[in-house]
């Protein structure tokens, strides 16, 4: 932890200008050549450096099975930064950063390579002053975790003295069902304490997701109606317009529900539905999320309350695209779904009787992630029936991406002499999305890892509860015939529409 032994006289809670800079430390990345590492992680490291949030002498160590020297790895980082960083490229920032870049070649089962890694790290502590504080970022398939973690334990890299810290960062998928998640966690926790494990769900690093908490708990306006007295139902959607291209091999056997619902969508549900935490301390926040996830149950019968599909060839946004079964790397007869929808209830006083519909899919109409809270109709309309024929239900929509903001839908009089009421939308977008100064999710999360600030990372209990919610659906689907086809560029299979229509509702077109 960066907590000082005694109060630092230069710090003051009223001094809000001072950014929190991470203390001396380094990051070791396993799986440096992966997509995520190049497109997100390395640019995020540069952007943090550019904003002056990394400590002087920060070190970045790459580990991979490549016959590379430090320079080759630095070149890879340089290119990744050049291509994907959000802040402008500045030579002086890059030069400083590149002084701390090292590469260790080797495979995960190679004891010698890990001994080299250990000595590189202790050299960095001397040369760069990283002070024995290191984060290990496992950007590798979970199947590799045991061997890497065992190596970290064997070489003593996972242990630290007094003031120092060692942390491990892992990404989804955290297992593929409850049992495997537990196994994975056993492996990780055999080497690192729970406080040193940072599970990255990059959605939680997004400004708008954090804004859900501000919207709900900093305002008087919404909380009084944020319950089953006023809310009819909630729709949480994460739609992607892209197909599997390139990721087909990874995706086959995992599917939309495991890939997205288990982590992103259930976390969004938790933030939307949870009670007010006592404070924004990590413990209180997690406590509330755990409570609400414990109260979250599947609505049965699953035949009628869930839906899944696979996209077929079609036209998507003006481009002709192939179906999932034609994507290379995807089995021709694979039962893996590319669209999943489920119905949940939150069994507590606040939400009793309010269904939560969650859906996600690839090759849908457009790329959008949003939480839509749909309100009940006004109990009495003092207008003639024809007047309000066009009036829908009020809705509050929190748009997470790509166009971050909040939309409110309400009825308004149509201009003219006749009284006619129709839905209009009011749209707020905070200009944060396109500015240099708003940190990207990975930046924010990575900095939090280095600062040891765990609020935005799900704990193991949340991961296990989420699998507990999803597991019955996965088991149910495994016993059924394959997913229902839907043409690329549409909003999913007919069964998804039937599923929500059964309750007398319709999906929003996001």
């Amino acid at each position: 932890m960066s907590a000082p032994h005694r109060a630092n006289p230069l710090l003051d809670s009223r001094d809000k200008r001072l950014p929190r800079i991470a203390g001396p430390c380094g990051v070791v990345v396993f799986g440096v050549t992966g997509d995520l590492s190049r497109k997100k992680l390395m640019p995020a490291i540069y952007d943090l450096a550019n904003r002056g949030l990394l400590p002087p002498g920060f070190a970045l160590v790459g580990f991979a099975r490549r016959d590379w020297a430090d320079e080759n790895f630095a070149e890879l980082v340089h290119d990744a930064v050049r291509e994907h960083a959000r802040t402008p490229f500045r030579e002086e920032v890059w030069t400083r950063l590149s002084e701390g870049i090292r590469f260790v070649p080797g495979s995960f089962d190679d004891d010698g390579a890990f001994d080299d890694l250990a000595s590189v790290i202790s050299e960095l502590d001397q040369e760069q002053g990283t002070g024995g504080n290191h984060a290990f970022y496992l950007s590798i398939p979970p199947a590799m975790f045991p061997v890497v973690l065992k190596q970290l334990a064997r070489t003593g890299l996972a242990t630290h003295d007094g003031d120092q810290w060692r942390r491990v960062v892992i990404e989804k998928p955290f297992g593929h069902d409850l049992r495997s998640a537990r196994e994975l966690n056993d492996i990780v926790s055999s080497v690192f304490d729970e406080e040193s494990v940072f599970r990255i769900d990059h959605y939680l690093g997004k400004e708008t997701v954090q804004n859900i908490l501000a919207l709900r708990f900093a305002n008087q306006l919404y909380e009084p109606i944020w319950n089953s007295n006023y809310v009819d139902h909630v729709q949480i959607t994460m739609a992607e317009d892209i197909g599997l291209a390139g990721r087909a091999g990874y995706y086959d056997g995992i599917g939309a529900a495991r890939d997205v619902i288990q982590n992103h969508l259930l976390q969004l549900l938790a933030l939307t539905a949870m009670e007010e935490p006592l404070s924004f301390s990590p413990e209180s926040l997690r406590g509330e999320k755990i409570k609400v996830l414990s109260a979250t149950k599947l609505v049965e019968p699953l035949d009628e309350t869930t839906a899944r599909g696979q996209y077929t060839a079609g036209w998507q946004g003006g481009t002709k695209v192939v179906g999932v079964l034609q994507e290379s790397g995807f089995r021709q007869d694979s039962p893996t779904e590319t669209f999943a929808a489920i119905t949940l209830s939150v069994d507590n006083r606040r939400w009793a009787g309010v269904p939560f519909f969650l859906r996600t899919g690839k090759r849908l109409g457009r790329r959008v992630t949003e939480v839509a809270v749909i309100f009940k109709r006004a109990p009495h309309l003092p207008f003639e029936k024809t007047t309000t024929a066009e009036l829908g239900q009020n809705a509050l929509v929190i748009r997470i991406q790509p166009d971050e903001g909040v939309t409110i839908r309400f009825g308004s009089k149509v201009p003219g002499t006749a009284m006619e009421v129709r839905d209009v939308t009011m749209d707020f977008r905070y200009g944060m999305a396109f500015t240099e100064s708003s940190p990207e999710a990975y930046e924010r999360l990575l900095l939090d890892v280095l600062l040891g600030e765990p609020s935005l990372f799900p704990v193991n209990a949340e991961v296990e509860l989420s699998w507990g919610i999803l597991d019955p659906v996965l088991e149910h689907w495994a016993k059924q015939n394959g997913p229902e086809p839907y043409p690329a560029g549409t909003w999913g299979p007919p069964s998804a529409d039937r599923m929500i229509a059964k309750t007398g509702r319709v999906w929003r077109r996001p």
Partner: protein, 323 residues
């Protein structure tokens, strides 16, 4: 889009704004504040608008530029509305005031303020002697000045100190943030010893160096000395002396800093001088009184070797500053 309204009135400007909004079909606006820029009608107008447009990407706002033109001319208001690509994420209204009207900018600004939103006033050049008492300053919750842009930066800073009121801030202060952050972080490392004395070195006319010295004095309550380095270089070093060795942050070239502290290898860190747009964005991020700034301003009087405009201290400073 740019709409010119020569020789106009504020109600015509308001009309035109509503008109543009209707034609554009925008139903709701997400403006979070009104930024009033007060300047002379010069090249500074465009520079300031540019900085404001950049800052508006983080803080969508309405920008009112009060450009004071020739006072000898007849009374006239020329307005220009810029929206869309010409205005970043904001809408910019350039108001050119001529003749006696040049002294009554507040009367033009009042009808054009966004309802119920905070107002920030920014003087990119010369600021009024008492910003909080200025008619335009009085409309604002927050008043941003820039001592470094004044003809006599140190005198300007001294005037800020004397006239300070809650809501005042100066870009000389926001330029310091990276320095302050690095020094504060350095003290988070062992050995956790008390600082005995402090030396801040910077160009004689650099107000940020004075403020850094003032800030360190107000936080540490130990003797703080201000030394001068050749002009034009900004702050060149800050050194916090402790029994076990000093924490030193040195920036000879204005770009890269070197951080030395006991028990740590010497480390280099990018520390370029911050552009105005970055400082402005930082200023717009918080709108409540900055007590830390106030304390730093007040503590400047307790800094040794600082030129405050008094002849005596200049002489003694020159003696020390001689190579």
């Amino acid at each position: 889009m740019i709409v010119d309204l020569p020789s106009t009135t504020t109600s015509a400007v308001n009309h035109a704004l509503i008109d543009i909004r209707e034609r554009g079909g925008a139903v709701a606006l997400g403006r979070v504040l009104t930024l009033v820029i007060i300047t002379d009608d010069s090249a500074q107008v465009e520079h300031s608008i540019e900085a404001a447009n950049e800052a508006s990407k983080e803080h969508p706002c309405r920008v009112l530029v009060v450009a004071r033109g020739l006072k000898r001319a007849g009374t006239r208001l020329d307005a220009q509305i810029r929206v869309g690509g010409d205005a970043g994420a904001s809408e910019v209204l350039v108001l050119r005031l001529y003749g006696p009207l040049a002294d009554h900018g507040d009367s033009v600004v009042v009808p054009l303020l966004l309802p119920d939103c905070p107002v920030v006033a920014w003087w990119p050049g010369v600021a009024p002697p008492i910003p909080a008492q200025d008619p335009l300053g009085k409309l604002a919750q927050r008043r941003i000045t820039d001592a470094a842009a004044a003809p006599h930066p140190i005198r300007a800073l001294e005037s800020r100190r004397v006239s300070y009121a809650d809501g005042d801030t100066d870009l000389a202060w926001s330029r310091l943030t990276p320095w302050r952050a690095l020094l504060a972080t350095a003290l988070d490392l062992p050995p956790y010893e008390d600082v005995d004395t402090v030396t801040v070195t910077g160009a004689a006319d650099n107000p940020s160096a004075d403020l850094l010295a003032g800030w360190l004095r107000s936080r540490l309550h130990v003797p703080v000395r201000r030394r001068t380095s050749p002009p034009g270089g900004g702050i060149s070093s800050a050194s916090l002396e402790r029994r076990g060795g000093a924490v030193e942050l040195v920036r000879p070239d204005g770009k890269v800093g070197t951080l030395r502290q006991p028990g740590q290898p010497e480390r280099r860190v990018p520390l370029r001088r911050r552009p105005v747009r970055e400082c402005l964005a930082e200023e717009l991020r918080r709108l409540e009184p900055d007590e830390i700034y106030q304390a730093a301003l007040q503590a400047m009087t307790e800094v040794n070797g600082r030129r405050s405009g008094a002849a005596k201290s200049i002489r003694s400073d020159e003696r020390q500053g001689a190579p």
